[in-house]
């Protein structure tokens, strides 16, 4: 697709416009609504901008910014927007700082996501390493076995743990059956269950990028290290680990970022004391129907995650460049 011309421009414009309208624009709306008042109405927030007047009829051409009437409309919208700066109120954000539940949710989410990421790295690395060293003929099958759970419903995989972790569940039946326990363990409804759920459901996301970097590694580097006097362990520590850092970073980001906002795992496996921000946002939205506060929760969560997301994108871009 070299050269300029209309073909190339249209090619770029179609996916670009789609993502602008359905990915980027929604964030601006969330930001806007997080700055408005809660109102008992449908929709449950006080209108600050007259968006439908602009976008009501035509929503798709909005991103191309070529139709002149649209430009003036956007201009009017911008005027409205800045005119309202004085009216913005940060009540929702102030509210977030005053209620402990939000603080605790953010802290707990970050903690659970960070510890889970570390656990997944410790469990996933030996698996990926083993796969990369397995005979070449097995590798496609092993790879498919890691990918297969990824295709199976997340909800079902989390659900499968309920009957295992219940007080009268399969794990306790087993442990009592072999005489290891007298009293059943209470796991379901605790943070332990949440850790198990997150480690289980995100493990393939770590193994795949790790495997991808480890399998490409040049074995002669290890031989060189051993010739130069390294033991097998120090060679692993000084050569293999540093060379697999791209995979570690990619895997950790793929696990950590979605885990912070995880909803299904804490909701199904956690107890009432498992405050995770995804669940708090869900309750705020569906339970309390306070859309402005839910939006403020989302905006803060996004700010918390901006750094890891940018790291992840840098990595993806670099991988793209390297592949070329």
């Amino acid at each position: 697709m070299r050269g300029g011309g209309w073909g190339r421009r249209t090619l770029i414009a179609i996916p670009y416009a789609w993502l602008l309208v359905l990915f980027l624009a929604p964030f601006l709306i969330v930001l806007r609504i997080s700055l408005s008042d809660f109102a008992i109405s449908q929709p449950p927030y006080s209108p600050v901008l007259d968006l439908p007047a602009c976008f009501g009829e035509a929503d798709l051409p909005a991103a191309e910014g070529e139709a002149p009437d649209l430009l003036s409309c956007l201009g009017g919208w911008a005027d409205q927007f800045w005119g309202l700066v004085e009216e913005w109120d940060f009540d929702n954000y102030i509210w977030l700082t005053q209620d402990n539940i939000y603080w605790l949710s953010y802290i707990t989410s970050l903690e659970i996501a960070a510890v889970s990421t570390l656990l997944i790295l410790l469990i996933g690395y030996p698996i990926a390493y083993g796969m990369a060293r397995a005979p070449k003929a097995w590798q496609p099958t092993l790879l498919m076995l890691v990918i297969l759970p990824f295709w199976t419903s997340f909800l079902i995989r989390v659900y499968a743990w309920i009957s295992i972790l219940k007080t009268e569940g399969l794990l306790n039946q087993f442990l009592q059956g072999i005489g290891l326990l007298d009293e059943p363990l209470v796991i379901l409804g605790t943070n332990t269950a949440v850790y198990i759920g997150i480690v289980y459901s995100y493990l393939p996301f770590m193994v795949l990028p790790l495997y991808a970097t480890l399998v490409k590694m040049d074995e002669s580097l290890l031989e060189a290290a051993q010739d130069l006097g390294c033991t097998r362990f120090t060679a692993f520590w000084l050569v293999t680990i540093p060379l697999s850092i791209p995979g570690i970073v990619a895997g950790s980001m793929l696990v950590f970022i979605p885990a912070v906002g995880e909803f299904v795992v804490p909701d199904l496996l956690g107890g009432s004391e498992t405050l995770m921000i995804g669940r708090t946002l869900w309750t705020e939205f569906f339970g309390n129907r306070d859309w402005p506060v839910a939006s403020a929760v989302a905006i803060i969560l996004l700010l918390v995650l901006v750094v890891p997301i940018v790291l992840f994108q840098r990595h993806q871009d670099r991988a793209q460049e390297a592949g070329r």
Binding site: Y16, I29, G130, L203, L254, G261, F263, V264
Partner: protein
Amino acid sequence: MRRFTWFNATSITLGFVFLYLPIILLVIYSFNDSRLVTVWGGFSGRWYGEALRNDAFLSAAWNTLQVALVTATVATVLGTLAAIVLVRGGRFLGRTLFGGMVYAPLVMPEVITGLSLLLLFVSLDVPRGLMTIMLAHITFAMCYASVVISARLVSFDRSLEEAALDLGCNQFSAFLRVTLPNILPSIIAAWLLSFTLSLDDLVIASFTSGPGATTLPMRIYSQVRLGVTPEINALSSMLVGLVTVGVIVASLISKRAETRRLAAERAAR
């Protein structure tokens, strides 16, 4: 001196036991006759019958299927375009932003994506239903699709396309007759991935759906919150079985296509 040690073998085995045991237990216990889910009461397939006779499940499954088919098809087309832009687009205004918008949805927490799309639909006054779920699913599925396809496109040998141009194809037909058949396996993989992503999604669908537009994960979730039931076990096992068969068949087909392509390349040499 690639050595496959006992340690390697053990870690792979334990890893796969951990990944598969819960699913296998779920499938085994779906054949449990007892209503008490974790107490074995003999072998029976009756919960499969009950699940298949449940109208709420069936209508939700139909909704899900419609959404997933439309999502997979549109997302694959858009994802292919996005991949071409990413790999071949060169420099253009806002390329960094474009790359960001393609990669960010891969890691964006679902609650944020769901909430933001719902607020978009509400402020544009779009009536919510299956249509809005499709729009939401297409948006995140196209990003996965473009990642899958661009990985293939990056490794594609461009000299083949140049040869087609030299032999008198124009750019469009060179793409259609040389590039497209070459990246076809990744396009099929992208379609399947988009399809299952849409099939599985609970959070984004819950935010963007409207009255009457309940998808299967939403139905399962509302039942699961009340506890484990044998019908859900049976339904889940059916879904797991379906996906497993689908993935295995797809990978066999793509393996055969790959072998055939390699053989053809060798013959051409």
